[in-house]
Symmetry: C2
Subunit: 348 residues, 2 copies
């Protein structure tokens, strides 16, 4: 076992920081460390926190950390930052706000920079979560900056995903992208004292009732399909519901109002997150979901590793292929096939 791995498992916080840096940079013995630590993972509860910029995610995370700490739980935070150096301002501000927890030895905060590469980022986040998990952190929050496709991808690394929305930011729900319903396990309507909070809750209820994973606003839908709501919204109130079709308990995301700045609601949100965890662990559907996520992770990991290995070992062949295709001596489809054959032959 690598020395850093041993020290991480012995709860050496400086080793933890170093291991995480290596993993984020994919440098040094990072892979060996990940392999070492994997067998000691599986205890941490990983919560993804996503939502539009300005929804108040960081303030809410701050409050969630407070509540978790009050319960005696240690907390890790992976904050996924965008690349743009210009938008760094707001994000930095958030980090500073959360920074008051940095003096708490039970809280570990680490930023991951968006590298423009989707797969790389969610892999990086997932690997860093693993290190925190092996180190012995009870809960890991993976906080993203927005709700784009990249962020949704990242939330797939979590057991449970909290989606934070706020009223009064234009048509908030409209900005929620395709895939959000698939990934949301708990909704928090933050800034719930503002105008439009009721509307936001209703829109979410409707979205859930429709089970509709679209890019458009629920309020837009409302004009067309009022009936669906009256038919179904009652069953979409909160938590577990009985799915008559499958006989399986199904999870319906609860919608919780909160005012993070006044510390109203975080306790209930934490409770809902743990209820979802219990659902994941206690039901067949929950276990199936965990396994499906693992399969997905393996497929993703295989895909990335495959591309890495192939691009490395085929560098010169690829160059020759470009020349041949450019000269129209070869078509790009046959070129791909030949390169793959070459790659597989190279394995001997």
């Amino acid at each position: 076992m690598h020395d850093l791995s041993t020290r991480v498992l012995a709860k050496d916080v400086r080793a933890l920081a170093r291991a995480m840096r290596l993993i984020d940079d994919r440098a040094g013995a990072y892979l060996e460390i990940l392999k070492d630590l994997f067998h000691r993972t599986g205890n941490a509860f990983v919560v993804g926190v996503t939502g539009n910029p300005g929804a108040g995610k960081s303030t809410l995370c701050d409050r969630l950390i407070e509540d978790l700490r009050a319960q005696g739980k240690t907390v890790g935070v992976i904050a996924v930052d965008p690349t743009s150096p210009f938008s760094g301002g707001a994000i930095l501000g958030d980090r500073i706000r959360m920074g008051r927890h940095t003096t708490d030895p039970g809280v570990f905060i680490r930023s991951v920079a968006t590298r423009g590469h989707l797969g790389g980022l969610s892999r990086s986040a997932r690997d860093m979560v693993r290190v925190l998990d092996a180190y012995g952190v009870d809960v890991v929050l993976v906080e993203t900056v927005g709700v784009g496709q990249d962020e949704l991808e990242i939330t797939r690394t979590a057991h449970t995903t909290l989606v934070v929305v706020a009223p009064g930011m234009g048509d908030e729900i409209q900005a929620i992208k395709a895939g959000i319903l698939e990934c949301a396990d708990v909704f928090a309507v933050n800034k719930a004292d503002r105008d439009g909070a009721d509307g936001a809750v209703r829109d979410l209820e409707l979205m859930i009732a429709l089970g509709n994973d679209t890019m458009i606003s629920a309020s837009k839908v409302r004009g067309h399909v009022v009936h669906a709501r009256t038919l179904k919204v009652g069953s979409a109130a909160a938590g577990e519901t009985d799915d008559a079709a499958t006989g399986e308990t199904r999870w319906t995301p609860p919608i919780l109002r909160c005012i993070a700045t006044r510390n109203q609601g975080p306790v209930e949100i934490v409770r809902a997150l743990f209820e979802h965890r219990a659902w994941l662990e206690g039901t067949e559907a929950g276990r199936a979901r965990r396994k499906a996520r693992l399969a997905e992770e393996l497929r993703d990991g295989l895909r990335e590793a495959l591309i890495e290995v192939a691009t490395r070992s085929l560098a010169s062949e690829l160059e020759n292929a470009v020349r041949a295709v450019d000269a129209k001596e070869l078509d790009p489809y046959t070129a791909s096939e030949k390169l793959i054959e070459e790659f597989r032959r190279g394995g001997q």
Copy 2:
């Protein structure tokens, strides 16, 4: 040679439609057809048209088609549609507007549905362009719905990319995502009679002058770095400029005002597009760019084909790996390595 390929090359329009459908569906003999036709491609001028929804892309495309037809050129259009069935309304409207060209035997319009899969979509678009090219179409317009990462990816399949912006849609430039400057060869400021057109032009000039490929608004930048503009914007006026550092002619995207609904500007835009084509073909830098794009395409194609082949041939091994990782008998990193070894051994 496949029968459909022969018929496409013999300018059978029904064979063309069928071949394109097969390719979009990746069905039947699509790969054989692509291989057949590749050697007859390379004559069409492929123009990507991108910009925010509402910028007036479809109306402008309509006008560009008109102008190209007036010059006696045949035109193909690949319209990349989003998946969402709900937003279909507006897009359908656009198609209908452009639909008046469908009675013109010199215009070929084909929609490609966004399938939620990035690579697949740009590959599909690229392959369909190839068929139109082999068929003998002079110009292919690849029109996307928005300016997201997916759309930018798609414009990379084009020789020349036209980015359409419009004033008065909030902070239009702000919405232009990372990567836009890298892909934009010609800018059209549509609805140029509206308030804010001058501002949009200035923002674009500044963005170009800064050479700054960021997600933020040029007007936001303006507050901080006014100097950069006064220093450089003069050289960013239009078309080819002399890059003193390399001695190579460099392309600076011209910014053209237009009012598509009144047919003002399309002629100049078409001219600018062809000027860019001449630059691509006539300069070392242009040729280098074409080759770099080809290399990129081959890498992408290899990547996709590799994943397809590997996922197919490793299906059962992958399932076993998921079971082993779930049972913590194996870590996911070693699992990937073993699967790749397995894949390469399977090539024999």
